[in-house]
């Protein structure tokens, strides 16, 4: 009798505690009611500390390889007057590179109707690992239909230095996008991550 009577107490206590616990876990009403809260929060957020500058670059005369293993002479690809959008990625980078590639995709979509669309180029900073084949499957994964370049490590370093994009190792990789509007001699240099909308705006502002 005693045993049975005493044994109920803790069980009841447990029940109360677990009910209380689930009560505190009810979602707060505002969250469910406002599905766009995160958009507004994003709009109100301060812009990322990206830096925009105008710079001239001397494109080095090297031949790199595209994602199909075809040789690409960089000076031909980047011939003067040609509009270009260039970024620097590596395929095993899982933090900023997926963002940069997706951003480029959205910019490409946003500029699809423009008469002078840029040629889009992604240059791998990890040529030892990013073979043409690796780049091809990376492009396919994202549905990115533009030129991905790799090459001999020394040639890639030459290119990175020419664009002031060399950071020693790939773990020091920093986000960098270069835009060159039609017939411009200078490039727009965007250091850091920006929104796709901001990149599109930079392009349009410079084009007009």
């Amino acid at each position: 009798m005693r045993i049975a009577r005493f044994s109920w107490g803790p069980v009841a206590a447990m029940l109360v505690v677990s009910l209380a616990a689930s009560a505190t876990e009810e979602p707060d009403g505002t969250q469910g009611a406002d599905p766009h809260a995160h958009h507004r929060a994003a709009a109100a957020a301060p812009p990322s500390p990206a830096q925009v500058a105008r710079r001239g670059y001397d494109v080095p005369d090297v031949t790199l390889s595209d994602e199909n293993g075809r040789g690409v002479r960089l000076r031909e690809l980047m011939a003067s007057g040609r509009p270009l959008a260039v970024n620097f990625i590596f395929t095993s980078c899982t933090s900023i590179c997926p963002v940069m590639t997706t951003t480029m995709l959205q910019v490409q979509r946003a500029l699809a109707g423009d008469p002078d669309q840029p040629t889009y180029v992604s240059i791998s900073i990890d040529p030892q690992y990013d073979s043409a084949q690796v780049l091809k499957s990376y492009a396919e994964k994202y549905g990115a239909e533009w030129t991905f370049l790799t090459g001999a490590p020394s040639d890639v370093v030459t290119v990175l230095r020419a664009f002031d994009a060399y950071r020693g190792g790939k773990m020091n990789h920093a986000a960098l996008t270069l835009l060159r509007v039609p017939n411009a001699t200078e490039w727009i240099r965007v250091e850091g991550l920006v929104s796709a909308g901001e990149l599109t705006r930079l392009w349009h502002d410079a084009s007009t």
Binding site: A42, A43, S48, S95, P98, Q106, K170, M171, A175, A196
Partner: protein, 548 residues
């Protein structure tokens, strides 16, 4: 919802002791069973969300980063930045903070300070980008669309991250193991070098133990605090490879190590590779001629793809430099695991172009007659010989009298280390040799730092290449264990190695080494050299670097 209920169970005093004990045990078991049944599903769902951005309903979750960039599927997964360990990471200027349960759900007292997260503030952080302190999180942190189920699963999974340190670590010592098989030529080298390195590490010549004790206060030097004496176990596997897995299990259960350092086998390393992946046990830089492919595997780190890399480099070299695109190629290799690995890798890299293949029974070599038949019948322009100097000796002994000799003969360091073996005299000038290490300068030792150390330890009679590999593995693990600063999680050790080994200056064994997230081979290229001779010693000349 898995949450920790901090219950104090009051046991009535007047209940007899035996019944009390049984009652408590019953209560605890019921609570544990209830929690693990519900929470293990929840944790699994959280793991899928964290690692693959898969929602509780099986569909991909949606996420927006940098204000308007909509990440697709797996690109949005937490693991990309916060890593498998949950301890975060950095790339260039971008830093991703730790999100383990212990880190998130407690306040941070060092700047930037913030209060502890709870389920409500975690929800605001991942859906709206608002931190526990009310500040807006970096725009790179995706804003996720998550259901209540997703959030519950995520919180449950994050609580498991870092909840327990990995096995093998005590307050003053760390358990490490190495694995050698009884058929491995290098097992003595592995054991000798590791034992000597461990002795020196533990000798305390820099007062490491005293410094570790002195550094225990919160502002102590973290690298000092993390010092542990190495306790090294040598796991010797015997008999057929089919029994290795059960031997490994028994050894592991007796003394689970934090990591496996170096190792050697005469067979395929696949059994050990699978064991380490299954036990989530780091297996750092074994000597393996033909390590298994590492697609997506996490815990096994190799120097390179071994003879597979050498075979692919040869195929690429021929394709890039042979003047005649219709050149006839004869491929000869032994019917053992190493030979087959190199043979198959060559054919694969040769991409459907014609090649005649001849396999030789394991442990044998072609007779002079067989060489004559092979070469005169096929009249190859290029002979690719994944053979040892002993296997090639029957060819070199008759080469000068043969009416037809291939214009090029490809050999590889994994089979024919000519510097140790001497030179194949009659067809010396036709040999293109695949050599993955730093090129030897004339009349200089190849790995001066390592060889100096070995001489100092009286170990200079050991195979220099193998010893240099073991020593490198020792240095790398030693550095990484200091760098993780007391965060003794196996996942974090590998993440640290990925970071540390990108462009390290620690080795002279290979000309370049690099690693990155998910990459598990330090070296991805090789030299192809021309064989020469100077004062009766083989020399390697005119190098081409090939990264196939």
């Amino acid at each position: 919802m898995a949450r920790r209920l901090h219950l104090t169970i009051h046991v009535p005093r007047r209940v007899p002791r035996a019944i009390r004990a049984g009652w408590v045990a019953g209560c605890l078991m019921a609570a544990a069973a209830g929690q693990s049944a519900g929470s293990s599903d929840l944790v699994d769902a959280g793991r899928r969300l964290y690692r693959a951005a898969e929602g509780s309903d099986g569909t991909s979750i949606e996420a927006t980063t940098q204000h308007d960039v909509r990440l697709a599927a797996a690109s949005a997964a937490c693991i990309g930045c916060h890593r498998r360990s949950g301890l975060g990471g950095s790339e260039g200027p971008v830093r991703s903070p730790p999100v383990t349960g212990a880190a998130l759900f407690s306040s941070r007292e060092t700047p930037p300070r913030r209060p502890a997260y709870n389920d409500a503030s975690l929800r605001r952080a991942v859906t709206q980008g608002i931190g526990a302190d009310g500040r807006t999180l970096d725009a790179l942190m995706p804003r996720y669309r998550l259901t209540d189920d997703d959030l519950a699963a995520l919180a449950a999974y994050l609580r498991t991250l870092g909840a327990e340190p990995s096995p093998g670590v005590a307050s003053t010592a760390i358990e490490l193991a190495t694995i050698v098989t009884d058929d491995a030529a290098e097992s003595d080298v592995v054991v000798e070098v590791l034992r000597r390195f461990t002795e020196i590490k533990n000798a305390g010549t820099r007062n490491e133990t005293r410094r570790a004790a002195a550094a225990q206060h919160p502002y102590g030097e973290r690298r000092d605090r993390a010092f542990r004496r190495w306790h090294l176990s040598v796991w010797r596997l015997e008999g057929p490879a089919s029994t290795w897995d059960s031997q490994l299990s028994a050894l592991y259960d007796r003394h689970p190590p934090f990591a496996v350092v170096s190792g050697a086998t005469g067979h395929d390393w696949l059994v050990v590779h699978r064991f380490c992946e299954q036990r989530e046990l780091p297996c750092i830089l074994p000597i393996a001629d033909a390590p298994p492919g590492t697609g997506g595997d996490f815990y096994s780190l190799y120097f390179s793809e071994g003879v597979r890399l050498e075979a692919r480099a040869a195929a690429r070299h021929i394709a890039a430099t042979a003047d005649d695109p219709a050149a006839r190629v004869l491929l000869v290799y032994g019917e053992d695991e190493r030979g087959r690995a190199a043979g198959d890798a060559f054919v694969d890299a040769w991409r459907g172009r014609p090649v005649v293949q001849r396999r030789i029974a394991a442990g044998t070599r072609p007779t002079r007659r067989q060489w004559q038949d092979m070469v005169s019948r096929e009249q190859p322009d290029i002979l690719v010989a994944w053979l040892t100097p002993w296997q090639l000796q029957t060819l070199s002994s008759i080469a000068s009298g043969m009416p037809w000799l291939p214009r090029r003969i490809y050999t590889a360091e994994g089979f024919a280390p000519w510097l140790e073996a001497g030179s194949p005299a009659p067809f010396l000038d036709r040999v293109h040799h695949v050599y993955p290490y730093t090129l030897p300068a004339a009349n200089r030792s190849r790995f001066p730092r390592e060889q100096t150390w070995l001489r100092g330890q009286g170990l200079d009679d050991l195979n220099a290449v193998a010893a240099a590999k073991v020593l490198f593995a020792c240095h790398v693990v030693g550095e990484a264990l200091a760098d993780i600063q007391g965060n003794f999680y196996r996942d974090y050790l590998l993440e640290e190695l990925e970071h540390m080994l990108d462009g390290t200056s620690m080795t002279s064994l290979y000309p370049t080494t690099a690693l990155g997230p998910g990459q598990r081979r330090l070296v991805t290229g090789s030299y192809v050299v021309r064989l020469g001779r100077s004062n009766q010693v083989a020399t390697y000349n005119d190098p081409d670097w090939i990264a196939p």
